[in-house]
């Protein structure tokens, strides 16, 4: 999909009352989320940055959250909308628990619920400005899907949002395989996150990796990645061509 003009329809097409209730642009945003299936379940990774335009304003934003017993969500885009989505999901899980029927919503159902919310808001020209990754395991079945602000949704063995689509997915297409161990999965995700740190202006070097298996959810404490700058080509790059970069 090439870059879409993200300006909404002009107000003349819609009644003036609807005009006051539309998200026009995001303010505090999170960048990429990357997710992969592995042997025992799903692994998600996201940094903890909340950018305010070009300023890296907040550096401790948790963008990976558990949803009920069987799911994990990662959110990029407008943080206030992600916080609102978490409230919708908390209500959903609460209602599900209140049935007290021994059944609980699995990741596929949660993903579907999110898709309906995102798509219906899009139809009203008032989107929740997010791209979400939803992963989980239920009854041995692994599930990994994504949905964005216009309602586009799909599942795959590996997914990503934002820059992750351009930088992480190619790495995953090459190196992902069925039955990765936990260690292999983490190394692969860290490889993706490091590339994003190098190449995404809104990335910050403080991230979390979350794991979900049949047993439950674990979200790692925040940590930072080492980066590599000791290449001889980096030392004097304009030696043969002054003024170049």
């Amino acid at each position: 999909m090439n870059s879409v003009d993200s300006k909404p329809a002009t107000s003349s097409l819609i009644g003036s009352e609807a005009d006051s209730q539309r998200t026009l642009y995001p303010y505090v945003t999170g960048t990429s989320v990357v997710g992969i299936k592995y042997k025992d379940g799903i692994l998600l990774a996201a940094d903890m940055g909340g950018s305010y335009g070009s300023t890296l304003r907040y550096k401790s934003v948790e963008r990976l959250k558990p949803v009920g017993k069987h799911s994990l969500i990662g959110g990029s885009g407008e943080i206030s909308d992600f916080q609102e989505i978490m409230r919708y999901l908390d209500d959903l899980i609460l209602s599900d628990n209140m049935w007290d029927d021994g059944n609980s919503l699995g990741p596929k159902e949660v993903h579907n619920y999110l898709t309906r919310i995102m798509y219906n808001r899009r139809n009203k020209f008032n989107p929740l400005w997010n791209s979400l990754v939803l992963g989980g395991v239920k009854n041995g079945q692994k599930y990994l899907g994504t949905v964005n602000m216009i309602g586009v949704h799909y599942e795959d063995n590996h997914v990503a949002t934002g820059f992750g689509n351009h930088l992480a997915r190619p790495l995953l297409r090459d190196e992902w395989h069925e039955n990765l161990t936990f260690e292999e999965g983490v190394i692969l995700l860290e490889k993706c996150m490091r590339v994003l740190l190098y190449r995404d202006r809104s990335a910050v070097n403080k991230l979390q990796i979350a794991k979900i298996t049949e047993e439950g959810v674990t979200i790692s404490p925040p940590y930072a990645l080492k980066t590599f700058w000791n290449f001889s080509a980096f030392e004097n790059p304009t030696l043969g061509a002054e003024g170049s970069w």
């Binding site: 303010y27 945003t29 305010y52 407008e78 206030s80 916080q83 820059f163």
Partner: protein, 236 residues
């Protein structure tokens, strides 16, 4: 694939500097006192730190009208909540009320808020609510147009577990630095300190603040400078 990699508007800057920091036992809120309409300073001694309850205060930035009406509504709802609850409202509840208003009216409002207070359950807490209505609990928060000049300062000067005096000095220094460089911030530095003992308001006029780079000691008149007989005061 994502749509949001497009060129969306950068956030508007807001005429003010506001700060909230936690310390060992409470919080210190600080702000400048300039309200501007365009280039004109409409009020050079405004009070941007508004009371919500006995133990929770709010720093306002952005549109004066929007921030005032939001704080009035939050105060109104909090008052009713306190009556029902039968005890002082918590800082978290106050912050969430402000978030609800900011988030649900995000298209109409242009105000960034910092909520700070003390309650018996969590102690001193600071919550930042920037444009858009995100709610973030932070050890310290900065906001307003003047805050752009303070990110580096706080990266270096902030530390966990300060004393009350250290925290207050940090806030005063920071607002003062922001005033030095931000045209939309100025006037006096006001602070409000909240802890288990209660609330203390402080007022720092410019003569109580340090001088920064390229700033000179204020004088009553040139005549005073001349009369002290310093060599070569007038150069032809």
């Amino acid at each position: 694939m994502d749509v949001s990699t497009g060129d969306f508007n950068a956030p508007h800057s807001m005429g003010t500097t506001i700060i909230g920091v936690t310390y060992n036992g409470g919080v210190v809120l600080g702000a400048d006192s300039r309200t501007s309409t365009g280039m004109y300073v409409a009020n050079r001694a405004s009070d941007k730190i508004t009371q919500l309850t006995d133990n929770v205060y709010l720093c306002r930035s952005g549109s004066a009208a929007d921030s005032q009406i939001v704080s009035d509504y939050v105060r109104y709802f909090l008052h009713q909540h306190t009556i029902q609850l039968g005890q002082p409202a918590t800082v978290k509840v106050a912050a969430n009320l402000a978030r609800l208003l900011s988030y649900n009216n995000k298209n109409m409002l242009q105000t960034g808020l910092i909520i700070g207070g003390w309650d018996k359950y969590e102690g001193g807490k600071i919550y930042g609510i920037p444009l858009g209505g995100t709610l973030l609990e932070q050890p310290f928060a900065i906001g307003g147009s003047g805050s752009s000049y303070l990110y580096g300062f706080f990266d270096q000067a902030w530390k966990e577990g300060m004393t009350r005096e250290e925290a207050e000095q940090l806030v005063v220094k920071a607002v003062s630095l922001a005033i030095a460089r931000d045209g939309a911030s100025g006037g006096v530095v006001r602070t409000v300190t909240i802890n288990s003992e209660g609330v203390t308001r402080n007022f720092y006029p410019s003569d109580k603040l340090s001088l920064w780079h390229e700033e000179l000691e204020p004088q009553n008149s040139l005549l005073d400078i001349l009369s002290t007989g310093s060599p070569e005061p007038m150069v032809s």
